[in-house]
C-alpha cells in the first residue's frame, strides 16, 4: 500500500475515533420547509448540551423517507405530512411510540399585493394559479382538496400551474408568472418579496397542515436524540416555532 493512502487511512481513523469519543452526533432528516426553525432549535439545544452535534439533511419528505429506507443515517425524521411517517412506521424503520406533532402550519394564497381574494370562489377570476404537484407535494394535495370541497376544481383545472415544491410556487408568484400561489404561511412570510398573503384557506376545506416528527429505530436507542425530541415539546421550543409563524396547538 502506498505511503500516502496509509497516512490518509490513519488520519481518517484518528478523526473518526476522536469524534466519537468527544461528541455524539444526532442526524436529522428534515422537510425543506422546516429548515430555518429546526436549525434554530438544534443550535439552541447544542449550546446547552455539551458534547452533542447535529448533522442535518434537508429535502422533500418523500426523498428523505426513501433515503432512510435505503439505510441513510438518521435519528429523527421531520416530515411535511403524516403519510411518510406512517410509511416508515409500517416498514418498521421508525419508532411508533415516539411519533408526535412538531408543528402546524396554514395554507395560504399568496400573490400581488393589489389583488383581493376573500373566498375560494374569487380564485376563478385569476388566470394562473401555482400549486405544488398534488402527487408529490403535500401543499399541492391540500390545495386540490380545498378546490374539490369548494366545487371549483373543474373550473380551475386549466389555470393550475404545478410546481416542484412550495418555494418554486413562491418564485413564480414573486416573478409575476402566476397571479397567486398556494403556499404555507411560514414560507410566504420568509421568502416572498413582491407578494403578500391574500387569503388564508379555511381549515375545514382540507386536512390540517401538520408536521409530524418521529425517532427512527436507530434514534430511539440514542439517549441524546430522545432528549432532543423531548426538548422540542418544551414551551421554549414552541416559542421559537411561534416566532417563525407556525402554530403549536
Amino acid at each position: 500500500m502506498p505511503v500516502i493512502s496509509r497516512i490518509v487511512l490513519i488520519g481518517l481513523f484518528i478523526l473518526s475515533s476522536a469524534r466519537s469519543s468527544m461528541a455524539t452526533e444526532i442526524s436529522l432528516s428534515v422537510a425543506a420547509s422546516l429548515r430555518e426553525s429546526v436549525t434554530e432549535l438544534s443550535d439552541l439545544f447544542q449550546k446547552r448540551t455539551p458534547g452533542v452535534t447535529f448533522k442535518k439533511n434537508f429535502g422533500a419528505s418523500g426523498a428523505l423517507a426513501r433515503q432512510i429506507e435505503a439505510g441513510a443515517p438518521a435519528d429523527l425524521f421531520f416530515a411535511a405530512n403524516n403519510e411518510w411517517v406512517d410509511y416508515l412506521i409500517k416498514k418498521k424503520l421508525a419508532d411508533e411510540k415516539s411519533a408526535g406533532v412538531f408543528a402546524y402550519n396554514q395554507l395560504v394564497v399568496a400573490g400581488k399585493p393589489g389583488l383581493k381574494i376573500s373566498s375560494m370562489q374569487d380564485l376563478l377570476k385569476l388566470n394562473r394559479i401555482a400549486i405544488g404537484s398534488p402527487k408529490s407535494v403535500p401543499a399541492g394535495e391540500y390545495a386540490m382538496t380545498a378546490f374539490q370541497k369548494s366545487g371549483i376544481d373543474k373550473q380551475l383545472e386549466k389555470k393550475l400551474i404545478m410546481a416542484r415544491d412550495v418555494r418554486e410556487c413562491l418564485l413564480y408568484a414573486d416573478r409575476g408568472e402566476v397571479d397567486a400561489a398556494f403556499v404555507y404561511k411560514t414560507d410566504a412570510l420568509l421568502f416572498s418579496k413582491q407578494t403578500r398573503i391574500l387569503y388564508i384557506v379555511p381549515e375545514q376545506l382540507h386536512e390540517r397542515v401538520t408536521y409530524p416528527m418521529v425517532l427512527t429505530v436507530a434514534g430511539s436507542k440514542k439517549a441524546e436524540a430522545v432528549a432532543f425530541i423531548r426538548f422540542l415539546a418544551s414551551p421554549e421550543a414552541k416559542a421559537v416555532l411561534t416566532r417563525h409563524g407556525f402554530e403549536v396547538r
Binding site: A60, G62, A63, A65, R66, E83, W84, Y87, R128, A130, S133, K135, S136, V137, L160, I161, M162, A163, R164, E168, L171, R175, G176, E177
Partner: protein, 225 residues
C-alpha cells in the same frame, strides 16, 4: 400494471419535445459548428465558451436564467407578450430548455465532423468558382452528414432526459408540460407511486438505450468508411 392516460401523454410529450427540439437545434447547431470550425474572428474563444457553458452549468441554473429571460418581466418575455406569445408553462418552454441544455453536445459532434473534412476539398471548390454558401451546401454539409446524425441522436437522447431546467420554466403540469422524467419524479416522491415510477424508469432506460444504440451505429459506420 398499466399506464394511466397521463403517463402515456408524458411519454408522447417527451418524444414530441425531443423531436421538435432536435429540428430547431439542428440548423442553429450547424451554423455554430461552422463558425467554430472554419471561422477566424475576434472573440471566437468567447463564443466557444458561451456555446459550451450549458454543458457545465447546473440545469437548474439554466432553467432559472431562462425564467428570468422569458418570464413576463423578463426582457424577452416582455417583447413576446404583446405578440400573444407565451412560452413559460407551455410545452414550448420544455423545447427551449432542451435546446439550450443539449446544444453543446450537438455542436461538438458536428464540429468534429467538419474538422475532419480535407481542407483541400474546400479550397478546390473555391478555386472552381463556388461561392461561400455554395461550398457550405455542396461540400461541408454532405461531408459532415454523419456528424449531424450522430449529434442529433445524442442531442435527442439528452433532451429525453432533461429535467432540471424544464421543471422550472415549464412547470410539472400533467398532460401539458409533464415529460417522462418529470412524471417519474412525481411518482418517486409519492408514497404510493413506487410501482409506476419503476415502470416509467424502465420505459426511460429502453428509450435511451435505443437512441444511444442508434448513435453508436452511426459512429461505427463513420469509422468503417
Amino acid at each position: 400494471m398499466m399506464f394511466a392516460p397521463a403517463d402515456m401523454q408524458a411519454i408522447l410529450l417527451s418524444a414530441k419535445v425531443g423531436s421538435v427540439a432536435t429540428l430547431v437545434a439542428l440548423p442553429l447547431g450547424f451554423c455554430a459548428a461552422w463558425l467554430l470550425a472554419f471561422g477566424r474572428f475576434r472573440g471566437k474563444l468567447l463564443l466557444e465558451l458561451l456555446f459550451n457553458l450549458p454543458l457545465t452549468l447546473p440545469p437548474v441554473v439554466v432553467g432559472y436564467l431562462l425564467l428570468l429571460l422569458l418570464g413576463v418581466q423578463g426582457p424577452l418575455g416582455k417583447l413576446l407578450e404583446p405578440l400573444g406569445i407565451r412560452i413559460i408553462f407551455t410545452w414550448k418552454a420544455a423545447v427551449i430548455a432542451s435546446v439550450v441544455v443539449g446544444f453543446p453536445l450537438l455542436v461538438r459532434s458536428i464540429r468534429l465532423a467538419m474538422e475532419g473534412i480535407d481542407p483541400q476539398l474546400v479550397q478546390a471548390a473555391r478555386s472552381l468558382g463556388a461561392g461561400p454558401l455554395d461550398v457550405i451546401l455542396t461540400v461541408v454539409l454532405p461531408l459532415s452528414r454523419r456528424g449531424l446524425m450522430a449529434g442529433s441522436s445524442l442531442f435527442f437522447a439528452r433532451s429525453l432526459g432533461e429535467f432540471g431546467a424544464t421543471i422550472i420554466i415549464a412547470g410539472n403540469i400533467p398532460g401539458v408540460t409533464q415529460t417522462l422524467p418529470l412524471a417519474i419524479y412525481d411518482y418517486a416522491s409519492s408514497p404510493r407511486g413506487e410501482g409506476t415510477a419503476l415502470l416509467l424508469c424502465i420505459v426511460s432506460v429502453v428509450l435511451a438505450l435505443v437512441v444511444l444504440l442508434l448513435h453508436e451505429t452511426i459512429l461505427q459506420r463513420k469509422r468503417g468508411t
